[in-house]
């Protein structure tokens, strides 16, 4: 019984969202606002069960790890943002987040996105595909070099870089469309199969 009600609720909500394809309407708006509320509720529950409880509440109040008072205070200072008069106090927490993110990203991006990618691009020219890869990386990088005007050899190479970038954007677009279409197929399978029982 509960499963049947669940399927009906899911099917109706799916149809409410799809009704936007005709035009904006109260049913769509209702589903849209429900989506916002449920998402917020889901993340609050998820954070409580997976972050607050194991990392803050249990260690601080049951295991006596008093040092965790510091992130608790910094977290509460973050929430002070809601009060305009003392909102500046949240800067301490934001500074902590910004500092950690900067230090972490500086190292990880240097390692994975810069050094490792350069290393992977240092290929021998025995195969045509390797040449395409190296030329593509170099010309793409030259396109992003804006300290000199793109004229002459630099301009020509940057133009080649644009072509490579266009192929990549086209491929990314194709992938995005495929992902969305597969979600659409999933919803159609749910409506026609699980809900109406027309697919076997």
């Amino acid at each position: 019984m509960a499963d049947t009600i669940g399927i009906w609720v899911a099917a109706l909500l799916t149809l409410f969202i799809f009704s936007f394809l005709y035009k904006d309407n109260p049913l769509y708006k209702m589903a849209e606002h429900l989506f916002i509320g449920v998402s917020a509720g889901y993340w609050v529950s998820y954070l409580y069960q997976n972050v607050f409880k194991p990392n803050l509440y249990n260690p601080l109040f049951h295991q006596g790890k008093l040092l965790l008072i510091i992130p608790l205070i910094l977290g509460l200072m973050m929430v002070m943002r809601l009060f305009p008069k003392i909102g500046w106090i949240s800067r301490w927490s934001i500074a902590f987040i910004v500092g950690i993110t900067s230090g972490y990203y500086l190292i990880t991006y240097l390692q994975t996105n810069a050094v490792d990618q350069v290393r992977a691009s240092l290929l021998n020219f025995s195969q045509i595909n390797n040449i395409i890869l190296v030329v593509g990386v170099l010309s793409g990088l030259i396109y992003f070099f804006f300290s000199a005007e793109h004229r002459g050899v630099l301009g020509g190479t940057a133009k080649l870089g644009i072509w490579f970038l266009m192929v990549a954007f086209g491929a990314s677009f194709g992938y995005t469309v495929m992902a969305r279409i597969s979600l659409l197929i999933g919803r159609m399978q749910f409506l026609l199969g699980d809900w109406l029982g027309l697919l076997h």
Partner: protein
């Protein structure tokens, strides 16, 4: 005081993470682990701040009976139900995130269908937008269009079906799509990744050194 202490915190935490990478020994690795746990907690509070703000904005709309206040009631009620069941483990003994709990029932029958349908809806908008925007006006647009065409067709069974009669395998749509992904696409993606890395490294350094201060806001 309002700006100096935050700048000091940013510099210290950033430098600790950089040092801990090069010297992964006590006390730096221990401080890094400690900071990582703190980061998770404070970042979670940031999300809580966002949720509280959502409630304040919508609560205010309901209080003032602003236009569309009924939809704000839906947001508040659905939030309270979902957060209440998940946080207070209503109807579940161990974790509400386990299968068969009321929380997961709502997840599978409300949250999941709404999320996937909203994103599936984008398929129609992407299709209509590309129909309007995808005109091969110049070489660059033609390249983009061609790459998208090959990748889309090469990744579905009908693509291979259409070209399976060709004896030369490298002319099959799936082979072409794979080649596009592995070489020209990879080359451009690497150039983008290296560019992003250089941008992030320079921005991170500016933040740690206190040159970039826009995150502190005014006053």
């Amino acid at each position: 005081m309002r700006r100096e202490i935050p700048l000091f915190i940013t510099a210290i935490t950033g430098v600790v993470f950089i040092i801990a990478y090069f010297i992964p020994h006590p006390p730096f690795n221990q401080i890094q682990d400690l900071f990582q746990t703190w980061f998770q907690i404070i970042a979670a509070f940031a999300i809580i701040l966002g949720v509280l703000n959502l409630m304040v904005v919508n609560g205010d709309k309901v209080y003032r009976r602003s236009k569309g206040w009924g939809y704000s009631v839906i947001i508040i009620l659905s939030f309270l139900v979902m957060a209440g069941i998940g946080t207070f483990k209503l109807g579940s003994k161990a974790s509400p995130l386990e299968e068969g709990t009321p929380f997961m029932y709502l997840f599978y029958n409300v949250y999941y269908p709404l999320t996937s349908t909203v994103f599936a809806l984008l398929a129609f908008f992407v299709a209509s937008a590309s129909f309007r925007a995808f005109r091969a006006r110049n070489k660059e647009a033609a390249l983009l269009l061609t790459a998208a065409f090959f990748v889309m067709l090469g990744r579905v069974p009908i693509g291979d079906y259409l070209t399976s009669w060709i004896p030369l395998k490298w002319l099959h749509l799936s082979t072409i799509a794979n080649w596009i992904m592995a070489y020209p696409n990879m080359a451009a993606q690497r150039a983008i990744m290296i560019g992003i890395a250089l941008g992030i490294i320079s921005t991170s350094l500016r933040l740690i050194l206190g040159i970039e201060r826009s995150y502190l806001g005014g006053d």
